[in-house]
Subunit: 404 residues, 2 copies
């Protein structure tokens, strides 16, 4: 008789955003006239900009003609895209990343869920708390996290690094030494980040302790301050200890287009084994490439027109972030983030729990946000709003919140 | 110090098709004037048909407008596509599959590699021999296959079910009872298949022995005989023991477009746990949907125009299959497959090994095929040609082979 992977049974509840969707659907059914503004899930609302639309139309036409039709893509992604990435995301910032170190994928969510596969089961992971749920959940499924404590909402074999107002959202080196460290910077959900100097300390720590950093840089395009690194490879020594995940979802609005990439430097070796080769083998065995049409859209992101257009789009969202940030401040809230990231992280008023504040905001202002506790125990008492709505909705949401 | 997943080190060599690509590249470099015809990798050559091209252009335009823009897709895929699948692939064939049992993905390769994750590590898998490499390799990576024997080319903990000319390519029930049985029908690489009655016996066997069948029906569109099931759910009792994988790569030429789906019936339960819920959780945690544009193309496959166009395309390839099959017969080869599948499986002449015949065919006829031994030990002495080339190339390749 076959047996299931019991680790799945350990997962508490369902995926955070599915829970929110269900709650909102139930509210909406009971209040069909409510004009709900969604500043919850980190989904973008602006359309894909012209350079990428043009590239996709062109690629669709190529697929219609036997002479230009493309079947299976090269295992690691088309060179035209990987060369653009190497040039514009890395070389332009002084990082020496070769195209053989770049793996194109269907998005950073897949990569951040799958990357743990190349590591042994008995590695110990460390995550910031609060944290993007995929890092922990994918390790739960792999049996790496021990036992879940319902009360503390913590896993016995996960090292949590609290990031709260108390430590200015800067994770401290943990007491126990981790094997794999997940860092998402600029951070989802708190919208805060580290300076390059602070990040350098983590790179040094990883190299010193034989740890790997899984560096999720999905929000890199939102960095506005000069002392913040856009890539972990701007730090010295990162090429021996860091894997970087990148996304096109937030810089170019590709949440429904699906494209991302992962950098695994060839200098990362464990007992002589190249992690780059391992990831290449995983990629070649369990994945068959991102769509040609989508890879051409990705290439267009790096064109002059594409760069100008996505800069404008990022600017649009960051203006929303400002509206939300200053609006909440004016309304007397304690607010964080929103400067180098499209997320605004607020302290719930009057010691309300995150979910109580979720219900309060949904019922009284018809505004949907994300409960901080959904991202981990240290998120309790916090709440996330995103700048990915329209300008009009961001303004209206804040008017409602101010009127509460 | 972090540790790697040692199972990767057990994998012998690199992925079959990467090896072939390297060999062909080397030959091509040494013989720059050689006019190589590729009938090796199962990649299609005909362009995407008009109905799907039109759907993609329309979807691209929708992505350009804020009013019709689509961000993250629903976890399991858009209902418009899943409803078309439920109706046309299942209800029309008398199979009662609900849309909640259909999971849209970026392709059957990903699904066939990932599906093993929801099972415990100590399950024992059974595969046909020869077999599509992904089934075994993904289980190697998960540590489920034991030790590799270089000499026999077999894993100690995998049950092999030989499919050769001797048993007419019909796998026999193994002596040891497997937990998970992979069946690809119509079969890659042999191009043969089972009758519906023969498949029913496997469904009965699985139900009786508490085994799960992973049923890869990627070549379903090529079935030409009436007594062959298009879906395993045409067999009685399959909904309690079978997961079906489907692809748009071969019926609609989506190898570079990337779309597939998996059916996990809600009736499959292991000690009360629903495998449908587990796969939904996996899908929601480690995947973020197929591109909207691609899902619209998938929907168009089920339109009247789409159905007519893909039928014509499948007919085109099956005509190639006939050209290759009869050409090889005329040349004196022992040939199999090609009737319900786009693959032709031939016995190598004069007891040549599969790789020797690969080199012979590449050097003497400049034709690329796939060595049968690359698919497993029982594939030794066989060779695969695909019908996915152009008609002209299929004819030319056979002229060259006949002239050898």
């Amino acid at each position: 008789m076959y047996k299931i992977n019991d680790n799945y049974q350990k997962l508490p509840g369902s995926y955070l955003f599915s829970n929110i969707a269900k709650k909102v659907a139930a509210f909406s059914e009971q209040n069909p006239d409510a004009d709900i503004i969604r500043l919850g899930i980190g989904d973008v609302t602006q359309p894909i900009a012209p350079a990428m639309i043009e590239a996709m139309h062109k690629a669709v036409d190529e697929m219609a003609d036997a002479k230009t039709f493309r079947g299976y893509a090269p295992d690691l992604g088309y060179p035209f895209l990987r060369e653009a990435i190497a040039e514009k995301d890395y070389k332009a910032r002084g990082c020496d990343i070769d195209i053989s170190e770049i793996f194109v994928s269907d998005g950073a969510k897949s990569d951040s869920g799958n990357i743990q596969e190349i590591f042994a089961q008995d590695n110990r992971i460390a995550v910031c708390d609060p944290v993007y749920p995929v890092y922990v959940d994918s390790n739960v499924m792999a049996g790496r996290t021990g036992v879940y404590n319902e009360k503390t909402q913590m896993w016995s074999n996960v090292i949590y690094m609290p990031c709260t107002a108390e430590n200015n959202f800067v994770p401290e080196f943990p007491k126990e030494t981790p094997d794999i460290i997940y860092l998402c910077l600029p951070n989802n959900p708190t919208g805060t980040t580290l300076t390059k100097d602070q990040l350098q300390m983590w790179v040094d720590y990883a190299n010193k302790n034989g740890a790997i950093i899984i560096y999720d840089a999905a929000y890199e395009a939102y960095i506005s301050e000069d002392n913040v690194a856009h890539s972990i490879y701007e730090c010295e020594g990162a090429k021996t200890c860091a894997i970087e995940l990148r996304s096109f979802s937030k810089n170019a609005g590709f949440t429904g287009v699906r494209l991302g990439f992962t950098v695994v430097p060839k200098d990362i070796k464990c007992a002589g084994v190249s992690l780059n080769s391992m990831w290449a083998r995983r990629h070649g065995t369990k994945f068959n490439g991102a769509p040609y049409i989508v890879q051409r859209a990705g290439e267009a992101v790096y064109s002059d027109a594409g760069q100008a257009q996505i800069k404008e789009q990022v600017g649009y969202y960051m203006n929303n972030a400002k509206v939300i940030y200053t609006g909440l401040k004016d309304a007397g809230y304690q607010v964080f983030g929103g400067v180098n990231a499209p997320y605004i992280w607020l302290k719930t008023p009057e010691n309300m729990t995150s979910w109580d504040f979720f219900d309060f905001l949904l019922e009284k202002a018809n505004v949907v946000g994300t409960p901080g506790s959904g991202f981990g125990p240290s998120g309790e008492g916090y709440f996330r709003l995103t700048a990915f709505g329209s300008y009009e909705n961001s303004v209206r949401a804040l008017e409602r919140i101010k009127a509460l």
